[in-house]
């Protein structure tokens, strides 16, 4: 026999009442409808990318293309050299990940496990930036990068990527969970603090590092506005490239070509999501636990 299912708000007893049954039925239908509305745009985007222009404006428009026009993908390359922009995006992302994890990791380890003077004040120095709305330093940030001569360089992304109090907080919390005894015994065996970080803290924090890497990826893949201000055309990441060349208000590029580009842009995050679902959904609750 199966063990009785863990109850939720409604118990098996409630389901004997007709009213509850009907309400439950409506609820299930509601969830199904919402799920459909979540999936429809994905399917629609993909199918639209294979339609001909005539089919796009036919009435009523067919749901499926009559012929799968892969040609649209080829045509889209005339508008946007998507591989160049994919490469730029990955380049920015790799630098971001390297800089931010290295420096934030060391700092988090230091705050969690090392002797530091005025630790409370240093933590405050980092964490109080969480309270300042990002919008209020958008403009000076741009001027600051200009003064530093970093405009139109990838350094304008790599270095500021390390200034993220939220990720730092997550790392500190995680490192604090590592037992002091483990580090202590490594030190007695003569390991330097660098060794402790590399051989103990990092291997123990793989899940959190993966989560941060994924969060960082979606930040870079998502960004279009900031990078369109900082970088020139040939260095743009994918989002900004589409923004400046394909989907600006009033764009006249054919819809099927636009959808081909959108579909290609959607593939990398979708694949990552399917493979790393657990980490991504785990990362969500990080945001909530904080409060």
């Amino acid at each position: 026999m199966k063990p009785p299912r863990d109850r939720a708000i409604m118990s098996p007893h409630d389901f004997r009442k007709t009213g509850v049954k009907i309400a439950y039925g409506f609820m299930v239908i509601g969830v199904c409808l919402i799920s459909l509305s979540m999936l429809y745009p994905f399917v629609n985007t993909f199918l639209n990318s294979l339609k001909s222009t005539e089919e796009f404006f036919a009435f009523p428009p067919p749901f499926f293309p009559s012929r799968w026009l892969w040609q649209n993908y080829k045509d889209s390359l005339d508008y946007l050299d998507i591989f160049l922009y994919f490469k730029n995006t990955l380049y920015i992302y790799a630098g971001n990940a390297l800089v931010s994890l290295t420096f934030m990791g060391l700092a988090a380890y230091s705050l969690a496990h090392l002797k530091v003077p005025a630790k409370k004040w240093i933590s405050l120095y980092f964490m109080s930036t969480l309270m300042i709305p990002a919008a209020s330093y958008l403009i000076p940030n741009f001027l600051n990068l200009k003064d530093l001569g970093l405009l139109n360089t990838f350094w304008a992304f790599w270095l500021p990527a390390g200034a993220n109090a939220f990720y730092l907080l997550i790392l500190i919390n995680f490192f604090e969970g590592i037992h002091k005894e483990m580090l202590e015994s490594a030190r007695i065996d003569g390991a330097s603090e660098f060794r402790c970080v590399l051989s103990i803290a990092v291997p123990l924090s793989v899940p959190i590092i993966v989560t941060l890497l994924l969060l960082g990826f979606s930040t870079v893949w998502n960004d279009f506005y900031w990078s369109s201000l900082v970088l020139k055309t040939e260095k743009l990441p994918i989002g900004a490239a589409i923004y400046t060349m394909i989907i600006y208000p009033g764009s006249t590029i054919n819809w099927n070509v636009r959808f081909a580009i959108l579909t290609m842009t959607l593939v990398p995050p979708a694949v990552l999501f399917l493979f790393f679902q657990k980490y991504i959904i785990g990362g969500l609750s990080l945001g909530a636990v904080k409060g």
């Binding site: 969830v31 001027l143 200034a163 959808f259 959607l266």
Partner: protein
């Protein structure tokens, strides 16, 4: 003595200093400079000149400012009314499902993986006069709906954003719901509480803190909105989607008046700071813990 304490701290400081420098150069300096810039006329060629409060006076005299403030507040309000309760209802529904809870969660989260730019591309088509929604309305004999008109634009934006974001919020609530002890429902049921009463007196109080947290986060996020307004509507039609931040970015990157833009940023900063101090005070007065 000083040398010995330096040795004692050497590793800790060595690990911290790069991060302190990064925060200084890329966060604290811009934050402080931003306030400074609002008193200057920023000129890349001939250098900055101090202009006192002129930027503030000009910004406050701009007839677009009241519009932008009003639009931002209207947007925040409707985003709450339309969007805020949906993830809660969805989370409760999904946790009640007898099977397929896993797939429902994954499907609900899917829109969140869409990059912003792809989202706008998709929805520009959905909202198009010949797009799928209007074709559907036509085919069932209803008149076309103009998603881009002045009165509808805000709602078009909010529907799009709710569609994208509610899944991730719902997952946070699902986690919160799972942590409510099941005995409470058992006990409430024995005491004769119906399903609604259980939701009202057990479920909702159980996730109260989470609801408050997400409420604050949503208010912070919506008060700073401008990207979808800019991309979907360009702030129009007739400034109907001109938000405060869009006004600010316009001053900076369309009119290249960084001084006025900084003045707007400073005003917003002061306003938000005042609000957070106020809420802190209220909260302290509220509960003695």
């Amino acid at each position: 003595m000083a040398f010995r304490s330096l040795r004692r701290y050497s590793w800790g400081l060595l690990f911290l200093i790069p991060e302190i420098v990064i925060f200084l150069v890329f966060l604290w300096i811009p934050i402080v400079k931003g306030i400074g810039y609002s008193f200057y006329k920023v000129d890349f060629v001939s250098g900055n000149t101090f202009v006192g409060l002129r930027n503030f006076r000009e910004v406050l005299a701009n007839p677009d400012l009241p519009t932008a403030v009003k639009n931002t507040l209207v947007y925040m309000f409707w985003a709450l009314v339309i969007g805020f309760w949906i993830p809660i209802a969805m989370a409760v529904s999904v946790s009640e499902l007898k099977r397929f809870q896993g797939p429902a969660r994954i499907v609900g989260y899917l829109p969140s993986i869409i990059p912003a730019i792809v989202l706008y591309g998709m929805w520009q088509w959905f909202y198009d006069p010949v797009g799928p929604i209007n074709t559907f309305l036509n085919s069932v004999g209803l008149p076309e709906f103009d998603f881009y008109s002045k009165g509808h634009a805000v709602f078009s934006l909010i529907i799009m954003e709710t569609w994208q974001n509610f899944g991730s919020a719902a997952l946070i609530y699902v986690a919160g719901l799972a942590s409510i002890p099941k005995d409470l429902y058992e006990a409430a049921e024995l005491d004769g509480a119906g399903v609604w009463a259980r939701i009202r007196y057990v479920t909702l109080p159980g996730i109260k803190n989470l609801v408050l947290l997400l409420l604050v986060l949503q208010l912070i996020a919506t008060s700073q909105a401008f990207q979808s307004q800019m991309l979907m509507f360009g702030g129009g039609p007739d400034n109907a989607t001109l938000t405060y931040l869009l006004l600010m970015t316009r001053e900076a990157f369309v009119y290249f008046d960084f001084g006025r833009a900084s003045a707007l940023a400073t005003l917003m900063f002061l306003f938000l700071a005042a609000i957070s101090i106020l809420t802190l005070k209220l909260r302290r007065g509220d509960d003695p813990a």
